[in-house]
Symmetry: C2
């Protein structure tokens, strides 16, 4: 010990080498990362302005454009988790006093309201029961009635397992001079999604769902109408870290330093997106649907019900109704402790009523469906004995 400094050692620092159980992450996310993605995470670093990293940035942007089916120039990974990309949309696209219409049919619609309010939005909302979806017609009427500057919709509600139809909203919003902002956290890479064809103005996602990349980096895309709103703001964006007028200069041709990009998370995302290209988007969506169908058939055979009707049920995330008399939490704990399987309970209105079970990205495989069904059956019979 040095004599120059008096160091307080009164901390409980007796930590051993990192070790964690081998979990099957079948909850609402994070899902298990693809092994190839985990391998790339530990690749040696380069600087955030190194020519080698600038190349990686360009490649990732182009890969993301494919995954999202968009030509949007401003298609980037945000240096945070999905919620940071979500906030980036609201922080950059809302000016104080702007009316924002939020379609709420689950937890993440409520989060949109919380965020939008912090940026001075005047909120109007339409509501549906958790698990239901809005018809295009219903949202059209709301846009016409409230005349908002932004319509915010969740494509894949991770709290309910419902897949909200989006195709058709773009035209309605354009006609009403309103921006269409879509949460695609649990759909990107797992569920059919076309940013350009559906005329979505801004969207965000997470890395840890259907892309099978660890959390800590989050895709975002802005189309021309969103960029126009951003560039014509009267006020500075009320958030420095997520200010896309500055972040955009780092990802654009200027390459101006803003904040240090999370280098290794960018490596991981690039590999995850390469896997999407290798498989092909259509094939990937069909794989998710096929494995979800097998899972749903199995649930039905066990006498279990899904909370969301098949017509708008997400293949990536299923809400399973907890049978009467069953302790939902006890089943989750049993699965975790006996089989290393993580599933989650319900959030908000659905707390205690459903389990949320995800088969996302790399995890959407037949062997996982079989394991999950068998383990669930055993856990249920155990809970009823």
């Amino acid at each position: 010990m040095s004599k120059k400094y008096i160091i307080n050692n009164d901390y409980n620092n007796a930590t051993g080498q990192l070790d964690v159980p081998s979990r099957f992450l079948f909850g609402p996310g994070p899902s298990n990362a693809h092994p190839r993605v985990l391998q790339q995470l530990g690749m040696r670093q380069v600087g955030h302005l190194d020519p080698a990293f600038l190349k990686i940035m360009q490649e990732s942007q182009e890969l993301l454009r494919y995954a999202w089916q968009t030509k949007n120039r401003m298609t980037i990974p945000v240096s945070g988790t999905g919620s940071a990309a979500m906030e980036a949309c609201f922080a950059n696209l809302i000016e104080p006093g702007d009316r924002v219409l939020v379609a709420v049919n689950g937890y993440f619609g409520l989060r949109m309201i919380d965020m939008a309010q912090r940026y001075g939005a005047e909120i109007v909302q339409v509501n549906k029961a958790w698990g239901d979806v809005f018809t295009i017609n219903e949202l059209e009427k709301a846009v016409q009635e409230f005349k908002p500057k932004m319509l915010a919709v969740v494509h894949a509600e991770t709290s309910t397992g419902a897949c909200q139809p989006i195709d058709g909203l773009g035209k309605i919003c354009r006609d009403a001079d309103c921006l269409l902002v879509v949460d695609t956290v649990t759909s990107l890479g797992g569920v059919p999604l076309f940013i350009d064809d559906w005329e979505i103005d801004a969207a965000y996602s997470g890395s840890q769902k259907c892309l099978s990349c660890p959390p800590g980096i989050a895709p975002l895309t802005f189309g021309d109408r969103a960029l126009e709103k951003l560039m014509n703001r009267k006020n500075t964006v009320a958030n420095w870290y997520l200010d896309l007028t500055m972040v955009g200069k780092y990802w654009g041709s200027e390459r101006t330093y803003h904040h240090t990009a999370p280098i290794n998370m960018n490596y991981a995302l690039r590999e995850a997106l390469r896997l999407v290209v290798e498989e092909g988007l259509a094939e990937r969506w069909e794989r998710h649907q096929k494995n979800a169908n097998t899972f749903w058939d199995g649930l039905e055979a066990m006498g279990l019900k899904c909370h969301v009707p098949a017509s708008h049920r997400l293949p990536s995330l299923t809400t399973v109704c907890v049978p009467e008399g069953v302790d939902a939490k006890a089943v989750q704990t049993h699965l975790l402790h006996t089989c290393n399987i993580e599933i989650a309970g319900g959030l908000g209105e659905l707390a205690g009523k459903v389990w949320r079970i995800g088969l996302m990205g790399y995890n959407s495989r037949e062997e996982n469906v079989l394991l999950l069904l068998t383990a669930l059956e055993k856990a249920l019979s155990n809970s009823q004995s």
Copy 2:
């Protein structure tokens, strides 16, 4: 190809397997991660509410407390890079109209002003030339004159290489009912720093400097006076992602979900902090100082001058004056292309005038000093021939 979906494949997705040069990251950060840290990055994931992860969170908090020499309960890693933790301080501790005194002697003081303004602060500032530091007495006078609610100071200015004395400011701020917020991005784990002894109310740092962890996670600590300010706010924190009233419930005993933590970055930070404990803080600080001394002696022997006087020169980051007639950028490019060595140019006022050379964390080793000096000498003779 599936027939069900029409996928646009018109993207330039021909990306090969990830590969990057083996760089020596001797710039202002990121520095090279310790190999053990990179190994842990790729560890299999667990969920963000998994009992195994909750244990890791607790361990990391305790390790961070040691590194920062603080008992602060609210000592956590923020889910973003250092700038996110910086913004977390300002977003949570400023209420609109609060007077904030910023000590500006470099680029990051200016960034503090930019951020604080976005949260409605009334800014007052004191200025010094870039590379100078303030005396405690000068800052005491400014606090007494301006009566701010917060004094924001950069301990280790990454843009100038100056180490600002902090010890003594805490008492002054307490007497004036003012919070002391300190940027420790380039000091934590490399330069003597005592949060509790120096009575610092809030501090933030980065992972990618003296902790030798990749960027993407950022330490933050709030003492009792900062928490009191936070808990007594009249308004909601104007930033959802960084709202510590909510983030604190995930890191506190409630374990309430806020956003999905960046699991693997947390693994990496934990390992980086274990390395700090294994070495010992005092020994680590002394290693940084010893290698910096060798580096400075070598620079002097080559006829090169440091921008900052030895009395307040940072061991972790040295600003070297570019000799007259030498093209700073050309030397950097030469070092990168011939020896894979990254050093950086000056920022802001010092652009073109200095190189910024970091010997941080794992990179602060004698072999690196020798390599750096030899390569620099060769690059300079090359640029003058």
